[in-house]
């Protein structure tokens, strides 16, 4: 059993070790200080945080509806919400393109009425990242809502609290760890999003070239820079997962 587990672990460890030993540690800081790299890092941070905020804003009500209501068709809604998790990201990008590009009904309406173009823009990046990240948040929070004891809320309601007060003072604090864990997972996923971003938002320096796209582009021309950027992503993901810790990931 231990041997099999060790083999399984090596599948994860070996690629990371390979990345670490291939890195040019001497020039790492210079690689990361280059304009292209700082641009990509800044863009990635901004877009992923915005995408996480979007996922939380709409994911929390969605999770609440899925966990706490008896609306018909919940199973279908849940399947739809979880679809981006299993969909290949590029397919997600193509789907977004079909829905929001300037040739689509919605996209052309947005462009003609508001002069808003989602493709090739930061908004498009945020949309693509939220599309893939929201399922992680929803699934985490929904599980926590299911596990949370309804009686506390019933007692609060019985003591005279309005539904919004119940939600704010009783429900939210109870599921706060799950919200944090879901947000962290969603952020990590948004940070690493590639396929949907490059298909929907394109690869424009300073506007849509997030870290993963920068790595992809640099792979041909400047492998050292690509590896330096990869290490940044690796480090951030590792920190997120370590701070999440078992009890949050497991319970939620």
């Amino acid at each position: 059993m231990l041997v099999a587990a060790a083999v399984g672990l090596s599948l994860f460890v070996l690629p990371l070790v390979g990345l670490l030993q291939r890195a040019a540690w001497g020039s790492l800081v210079d690689d990361l200080r280059s304009p292209a790299a700082t641009e990509a890092i800044r863009l990635s941070l901004v877009s992923s945080l915005a995408a996480t905020a979007l996922a939380m804003t709409f994911g929390l009500p969605l999770a609440w509806v899925l966990a706490r209501t008896e609306l018909p068709g919940r199973a279908v809604v849940r399947a739809l919400v979880l679809l981006p998790m299993v969909l290949p990201p590029v397919v997600g990008g193509v789907a977004l393109l079909s829905a929001f590009s300037r040739r689509s009904p919605i996209g052309s309406w947005l462009y003609d009425s508001f002069d808003v173009q989602l493709t090739f823009s930061l908004a498009g990046v945020v949309l693509a990242q939220a599309f893939v990240a929201m399922p992680f948040f929803v699934i985490t929070v929904e599980a926590a809502l299911r596990q949370a004891d309804v009686r506390y809320e019933q007692v609060a309601a019985g003591l005279g609290a309005k539904p919004t007060t119940v939600f704010r003072r009783v429900t939210l604090p109870m599921i706060a760890p799950a919200i944090a864990a879901g947000a962290a997972l969603a952020w990590a996923r948004a940070l690493g999003e590639f396929g949907a971003t490059i298909t929907f938002a394109g690869n424009i320096a300073g506007r849509t070239r997030t870290l993963p796209l920068a790595v992809y582009l640099a792979l041909e021309s400047d492998p050292e820079a690509a590896i330096a950027l990869s290490l940044v992503l690796l480090g951030v993901s590792f920190i997120i997962l370590v701070t999440l810790r078992d009890r949050w990931l497991g319970k939620a």
Binding site: L97, S101, R102, R103, G107, Q117, T119, F120, T199, G202, N203, I204, A205, G206, R207, T208, Y216, L217, L219, E220, S221
Partner: protein, 376 residues
């Protein structure tokens, strides 16, 4: 009367329905019941015969696999469907088991069918059945049976702009040389050269510029410097109907998002050259970079890029999906495509004959059909 027995049950299951009527078990334990019935079910399917359970059980299950009974039920129940109503095959549905017609996992049946087909006689061990149920059963090949038809394979890495032309050339080559299979990888020449340097098993490399071929030959993977087999030029592509009215490279400056190849890809380098000669600088914040020529074109044909710069051949291949705007000769770049054989390939003769085919009049005709210029 209930029997009060002191049983050491260990980890074997117990018959919960203890009784003292004929046919009911008094007390007892049974192990491996499910396995026994699995075997029975499988035997039933493969043998093609309806075995009576009592005949099957003793051959597989050990005698201790029965519960202690007060009475044995009769061996066979001969009953016809009309007499028994819905109970068809009653003679087979007998005893504790009655599982003979039970569901057998399709993968187990497929596995056994395949085993018979391939002439193997598998041992009916639990592990094999478990593996068959769990694993995907490869029916093709029956374990390396390809000795009767010697297939020659060739792996060709070619620039993305050669997708359509080389696919057709490959088909023509395969038609003239039966038992040959050509596998193509189409991508940016930069990506392909990197893959070859990293050890990808490629036999022939057709690049869009000499630079990438030189990278590979510097690593001693190519003898010589290849041979030019086609030429290409750049063209501006726009949305169908050219709504922005683009006519020159200068018009690309403030028109919106322009799609260009990555700077290290040959088409990116050539586009940069052409823009420099024309004295045009497009703000990088308006440029979306595609990994190869095809991806760059897709940004215009499927996406919202207003215009792009790709090869003439790509624009032709895209047909009505994009409109093409000529670049004047003095600003345009002539791309010379070299082809070469990788020295570490597995079939040097086949690789050479493919290269000769590309350079022959037949191959050249196909290339010309797709818009390529002659090598010289």
């Amino acid at each position: 009367m209930a029997a009060g027995l002191d049983l050491d049950l260990g980890d074997q299951s117990v018959d919960p329905h203890v009784g003292d009527q004929p046919g009911e078990s008094v007390a007892g334990r049974s192990g491996g019941r499910r396995t026994a019935t699995w075997y029975i079910g499988v035997l039933h399917q493969v043998g093609g015969q309806a075995l009576a359970v009592d005949e099957a059980l003793p051959t597989i299950a050990a005698p201790t696999e029965h519960f202690a009974r007060v009475d044995q039920a009769p061996d066979r129940i001969d009953a016809h469907a009309e007499q028994v109503g819905r109970l068809a095959n009653a003679e087979v549905r007998h005893g504790r088991a009655g599982y003979v017609n039970s569901w057998v996992p399709p993968s187990a049946v497929i596995y056994l069918a395949a085993a018979r087909y391939c002439g193997l006689m598998p041992w009916f061990r639990k592990s094999i059945l478990v593996a068959a149920t769990a694993a995907l059963v490869p029916l093709a090949g029956c374990g390396g049976n390809g000795a009767d038809s010697p297939e020659r394979t060739l792996t060709v890495s070619a620039a993305a702009s050669l997708t359509e032309s080389f696919t057709e050339i490959g088909e023509a080559f395969e038609a003239e040389n039966p038992d040959t299979t050509i596998t193509f990888t189409f991508d940016s020449s930069g990506t392909l050269s990197q893959q070859i340097l990293d050890g990808a098993p490629v036999d022939v490399f057709a690049s869009a510029d000499q630079g990438n071929l030189d990278k590979v030959s510097e690593a001693d993977l190519i003898d010589g410097s290849g041979e030019v087999f086609a030429r290409n030029q750049l063209v501006i592509i726009t949305q169908p109907g050219n709504p922005e009215g683009i006519e020159t490279l200068e018009d690309l400056v403030d028109v919106g998002v322009v799609s260009l190849c990555a700077e290290e890809a040959p088409c990116g380098k050539f586009a940069a050259q052409a823009l420099e000669v024309a004295g045009v600088t497009i703000d990088e914040g308006n440029v979306t970079r595609g990994q190869n020529a095809k991806a760059t074109l897709t940004a215009v044909s499927e996406g919202d890029a207003v215009a792009g710069v790709v090869y003439v051949t790509d624009a032709l291949a895209a047909g009505a999906a994009v409109d093409a705007v000529q670049i004047p000769e003095d600003q345009n770049v002539i791309a010379a495509y070299p082809i070469a054989m990788i020295s570490k390939g597995n079939d040097a003769d086949l690789a050479q004959s493919f290269i000769d085919f590309v350079l022959s009049s037949e191959g050249q005709a196909v290339l010309a059909e797709y818009g390529f210029g002659p090598p010289s």
